[in-house]
């Protein structure tokens, strides 16, 4: 068996393990443990899908949670109990009052809505670079939040939309997580992924070599937004209540930290970052009692600055978990170069 084969087997075993744990959790873990498992799966989805844009293409979007919000509202509207609709949404048209979609369809619809928003907003946004793009996408987040506050007939405003059927189980979340990881891994190892890497390393050179920048950037952006939208749908049907304040800058920051600390461009890093940085503060809170939310955010910020200074490529750089790599130190994950990419210029302090 070749080493690449061995890795493939390893990945499928891990995926099967994740699903098995989700099933086991549903069979009889206590509520708190189930909650931890479900939320960590959601963070995995958010971070891995963000990695498709921020890590693979190297454009730094901060609007991910905005797409999540779009998906959350759209899917919540689609499954909202028919009996409660006339009272909750008195001004919405007739077809809406009688149209209830099954949960999986609603999730896909939420993802599709987020993808559509991404396609529209990507047109001006993706022409930007670096800091401009970051701030432009942050503006998108504010726009979505403000719309959610103001479009009262549809979103119920800042008090939030309650009474969403709580259909999300650990299995749903982890099944989607496995799909996201699979899609991201396929993108990373495909020709499309190589093109994205070329854009990241030097977009001018890539364009000169005939890479259609807008098309590829847009594809990655739309795929990423789709999964953020699905994550939003899962979230809405997990908590049962959504309000504009949930989809905040705080959540954005948290997801960004997970991504960066894990290692931009590394899917393994995203998963490890999401699990580690969700579960560790949670463990602290558990040990110290309530009221440390601010403290964990503060610590995250400090840790992030330290990582940026002392380990600028995150814990894993662009590398992936790989048995092949463990043996000869240069597996498939290192193909684009773990440390020598243009986006991560060599840091003298990090020799």
């Amino acid at each position: 068996m070749t080493r690449e084969r061995l890795d493939t087997v390893l990945y499928w075993l891990l995926a099967a393990g994740a699903i098995a744990v989700a099933l086991w959790a549903q069979a009889g873990w206590n509520n708190y443990a189930v909650r931890l498992l479900t939320y960590s799966g959601l963070y995995v989805i958010l971070v891995v899908s963000l990695n498709i844009v921020n890590g693979f293409v190297g454009i730094f979007s901060l609007g991910h949670i905005g797409f999540m919000a779009v998906g959350a509202y759209v899917s919540a509207l689609a499954t909202y109990p028919l009996a409660r609709r006339p009272a909750t949404f008195p001004t919405l048209p007739e077809w809406f009052q009688s149209l209830a979609l099954p949960y999986p369809v609603a999730l896909l619809l939420g993802g599709a809505a987020a993808a559509l928003v991404a396609a529209v907003i990507g047109f001006p946004l993706l022409r930007l670079r670096g800091h401009y793009l970051a701030l432009g996408s942050l503006a998108l987040l504010v726009i979505v939040e403000q719309l959610a506050v103001n479009l009262h007939p549809v979103t119920r405003g800042s008090r939030g939309l309650a009474g969403i059927p709580m259909l999300t189980t650990p299995l749903w979340v982890w099944a989607v997580a496995v799909v996201v990881v699979y899609v991201a891994a396929r993108i990373k190892s495909s020709g499309f992924g190589l093109l994205l890497g070329a854009i990241r390393l030097d977009d001018v050179a890539a364009a000169a070599s005939g890479v259609r920048l807008t098309r590829y950037k847009m594809s990655a952006f739309v795929v990423s937004a789709f999964f953020a939208g699905v994550a939003g749908g899962l979230w809405a049907h997990l908590v049962g209540v959504i309000a504009p304040s949930v989809f905040s800058y705080d959540l954005t920051f948290r997801v960004i930290v997970m991504l960066i600390i894990g290692g931009l461009g590394s899917i393994t890093g995203s998963v490890v970052g999401a699990l580690g940085l969700f579960l560790l503060p949670e463990a602290f809170t558990y040990l110290e009692g309530a009221g440390t939310h601010g403290l964990s955010q503060l610590l995250l910020a400090v840790v992030l600055v330290l990582v940026m200074i002392f380990r600028p490529n995150g814990l894993l750089g662009r590398r992936e978990l790989s048995l092949a790599r463990a043996r000869d130190g240069a597996g498939p994950g290192g193909r684009l170069g773990a440390r020598t990419t243009g986006a991560d210029r060599p840091n003298p302090d990090d020799a």
Partner: protein, 298 residues
């Protein structure tokens, strides 16, 4: 809708616009040298405002002294941030710098929230500044005149500094290419520190002036104004100090006229409008009103 109403809206637009301008000029100052959009800029304003409200205003300091105190606090804090975090990332990629400034911003905002709680705090007002002056049927608040004056003066001084003085030339050289500037015998740390000090000082000034204008300040006040200052800087042409000022004024006017001329049901969409304007601007004229070129900076 008559002439006086329009004139009043114009004055209101100038008032809010000059606050954006003040922030945008400071933001541009830092951007001009490090090519870094300092996400923490709004939080520096917040810290200066909160600290003035808690520690200084209680002492009933002479108002100009309070303003100087807020400015110094903002400036020093900016320099500390630069030394502790950004200076260690000189060779790092743009993304890493950006992430670091996000972290600093979150650190300041969360720290302030834990220290002062989310409740807005009363800011000791000054009689001369909180009074409304009437000129031909149009009302102007004293604080607004002060903010406008502050913005104009700082814009003029900083433009002069960066274009006419030796230190300004050093600043621009460092901004152009850090390594080559080094080779030409420029020690980059001095111009960078100065740029941070001056830019952050303006954030501090904005904090105190904000307090006088609105009469209350809160730990959450920094985020949205920072974004709007960025929009202003983009509208004016980022990197250009006069552009940042102009962009702030234009943004303030656009925002006030949006709220003032449309039915009241739309006033909640104020921020949506501002950021939609950003996207429009980026589509139509990405270099801004006074910007030269978005050409790739190596």
């Amino acid at each position: 809708m008559n002439g006086t109403y329009l004139l009043q809206q114009l004055v209101n637009g100038l008032a809010i616009g000059s606050l954006y301008a003040l922030l945008a000029v400071g933001l541009s100052m830092v951007y001009g040298i490090l090519r870094l959009i300092n996400f923490a800029h709004g939080e520096l304003m917040m810290v200066a405002a909160m600290a003035s409200a808690t520690f200084l205003a209680g002492l009933r300091v002479w108002p100009p002294l309070l303003l100087v105190g807020g400015m110094l606090l903002g400036g020093v804090l900016g320099v500390v941030v630069e030394r502790v975090a950004y200076s260690r990332l000189r060779q790092a990629s743009e993304v890493n710098l950006l992430v670091t400034s996000l972290a600093v911003s979150t650190f300041l905002a969360t720290g302030a929230l834990m220290l002062w709680s989310g409740q807005p705090r009363r800011f000791e007002r000054v009689e001369v500044l909180s009074r409304l002056y009437e000129v031909g049927g149009v009302f102007v608040r004293g604080a607004d005149i002060a903010i406008l004056a502050m913005a104009v003066v700082s814009m003029a001084l900083l433009t002069w500094l960066t274009s006419r003085t030796r230190l300004g030339v050093a600043m621009r050289a460092v901004a152009e290419d850090l390594r080559v500037a080094y080779l030409m015998g420029i020690d980059p740390s001095r111009p960078i520190l100065l740029a941070f000090f001056l830019g952050s000082m303006l954030a501090g000034a904005a904090g105190v002036l904000w307090g006088w204008k609105f009469g209350q300040v809160a730990p959450t006040m920094g985020f949205v104004p920072m974004l709007k200052a960025f929009v202003a800087a983009v509208i004016g042409g980022i990197g250009s100090i006069p552009g940042a000022f102009l962009g702030g004024i234009v943004l303030g006017l656009a925002e006030v006229f949006f709220v003032g001329l449309l039915p009241a049901t739309y006033s909640g969409y104020r921020d949506v409008f501002v950021f939609a304007l950003l996207f429009l601007m980026l589509l139509v004229r990405p270099t801004g009103i006074l910007g030269v070129s978005l050409a790739r900076k190596a």
